[in-house]
Amino acid sequence: MVIATHAQIVSIGSSVPLRDTVFTIHSTFERVANLLYSGGIVSAVTEDIGGGPNNIVINGFNFLNLKEAQIINDELILNNTKIPLLQVSKYDSTVKLDASKKTTFLSGLQIFERILVKHAHPLSSVFLLDDRRKSFFITPFEKNLRNQLDAGVTEILNGKLSSVSKLKGIGLGFTPQGDDLINGMLLAMYVYQLLTDYSTAHIREGIYRLARSKNVISDTFLYFSAKGEFFERFKNLIHAFFQDKESVINATMRLLAIGETSGADIGTGFILASKEAFKKSTNGGVLIW
């Protein structure tokens, strides 16, 4: 057994189990390793990915070579590398907002939308914010996919929550675009609650129930979004809304760096749901879904 000299834990999410656990390797990438256990999934990530409710942020370890992962006696063991877990700082996934700064938030949201539309991948869901992007979808399959995304989102925004089951799972890759859109919507509803004191808990819970799937990665994201727990890049984006334009731009770019379209899709869902919620709440904060 090797005691790690270079690998170190930067932060650990509040939902990461600290008891003895043997993980199954679900998937490994350059900066992320997804680890399954009986309670769900934990993601070991590099510092540039950042914290999250179920993230262990580790520096100095090549995840692509990861074959075994476990927690034993307050140590995380990756292959033969032991990394102490005690006295590691906890990542705070909660967001606290000042309800009196709703206007500032909406200004930030506008900037966010402009940057997102400008820089998102042509094949992301951003066509839902900018019709002109629909032309990027060319093949019959792509057009059908685009139409399904469009229909699903439109129905949800018009109050038909059951359409969540129509939207989930749509998309090509590892985390389908439909799931990312729902993620963004859930985060928007939580932020809306913080800014208006209107409880969206029951809606978020209902959406999560409808959106659950066998895709454990997507499911985990949806679970935390529904609870109002934020991963670091999105939390930074929300905070940037209350700072200056430059901060929003930088935070948006960081968000867009998540996957090819994931960041853009989550952002699109967030913008659409936020705009819809604030539009419909002009009569005293009543949200009409």
Binding site: S27, G169, I170, L172, T175, I217
Partner: protein, 525 residues
Amino acid sequence: MVVKGILKEGEYYDSVTLMLVARDVLALEGVEDAAVVMGTEQNKSILETSGILLDMFKNAIDSDLLIAVKAKDEAICDAAIQKAKELLISRHSKMQETGEYMPKSLEGAVDFLPDANMVIISLAGKYASDEAMKALKKGLHVMLFSDNVSIETEIELKQYGKEHGLLVMGPDCGTAIINGAPLCFANVVNRGDIGIVAASGTGLQEVSAVISNEGAGVSQAIGTGGRDVKKDVGGIMFIEGIKALEEDPETKYIALVSKPPHPGVLEKVASLIKTEIKKPVVGIFLGGDPKIVEEAGAIPANTLEEAGLIAASFSKGKSMDEFKQLLEAREKELLNLAEKESKNKTATQKFVRGLYTGGTLCDEAMLISRTIIGEVYGNAPLNPQFKLEDSWRSKENTFVDLGEDEFTVGRPHPMIDFTLRNKKILEEVNDKEVAVILLDVVLGYGSNMQPGDELNPIIKQAKEIAEKEGRNITFVCTITGTDKDPQGRGKVKQQLEDAGALIMPSNAAASKLASYIVKNLGGVK
């Protein structure tokens, strides 16, 4: 129409990787629709709506990867699915999160690099032209690496470029050097005062490498794509390229490189040189009439090497006589060497087999050989009557361009992947009539990174096979490149010499040596 597909369990890719793979597959001739998706219920329903849901997909789960193709026939479907599999392997599964934002569109890239004034586009042809026009409208010069762009689109792009003072290099332009930066297949050459306009990728490489190896340097090397000098396009960018070099303060001398342009294009070029170009010009139009170049006030070269040497002479202030003396001295050396190599051959050995990776180099070799040993066979011969019935089977004197489509379908270009040529080398040595095998090795960032490591054992093995039967085969090689290239010309030369090959300073010299040996052996047509 036929629909086929495969299901792969537990493979994870991000959305866009899958979409781009699907698009590359869709770009194949005869494919009508393609989808590469995870097997969620909703995706299956979209596949169904699109008419490409196969029975085998019906029980797929979220973590299954589904590849579906709709095409004209079964063979196209199979080829498309194979292509999808290869692309997925080559692209690797990207991680779900990446560290830094990378531009995901032309607009994003322009915002990211506001001072950039040029874009290289490498997309399937049907998408490339739209992006190229978009780039031109943003005021960017374009290098269009993609092929399969229609001639009409090429003309439209080039007309627009011409009207707005922008270069459109390509389509199918694989080589350029702009402000000292070697692009795509270009070599790392000295910077200097010689500007090149070329409608030939490996031609540009050979000329620029010769210039650099002579101690001179290149200011700009503008590739136009081979079709530019044909009748339809009318030399739009070849002419604009010459004008650009005339205006470029760093360029003092101009070299023009091309296969024979259409007579009308040649006239336009000649007229331009006569009326507007004040800088000295050297021209090599392989197989064309040098008189026309001369009449236009340019110095004609007979080979790519000569073009490079003349340009280098300009630049270094040397007289033309110096390089002429060099070539004359070399001619004697080649004849002596050919004499020596002819003596160790059996009675049956009398033919050459040229196995080329560079199309223009192959053309030049055939042109040179024709004057010494007559017409040679090939898959793209100078004389159509000498076209091989089967491109895979050589006969008598044969020069094969392994970069032609018939050899590259489903494979990387032979400048990158030596597998096919290595196989051909080992086939050719079994032919008792073969005396010489002629090879080109093209260096540069885009080419095979270990050419010496790969060719050395093959040449040794080939020589051993022949020697066991009492035959000696002469391997003649030309290396297009410089010591500054990542492969290092000197290192590669040493590795090939260690294997027993004769390394010539240029393609022209290599072609001559091979032809002289054949001539001595009586292998003349």
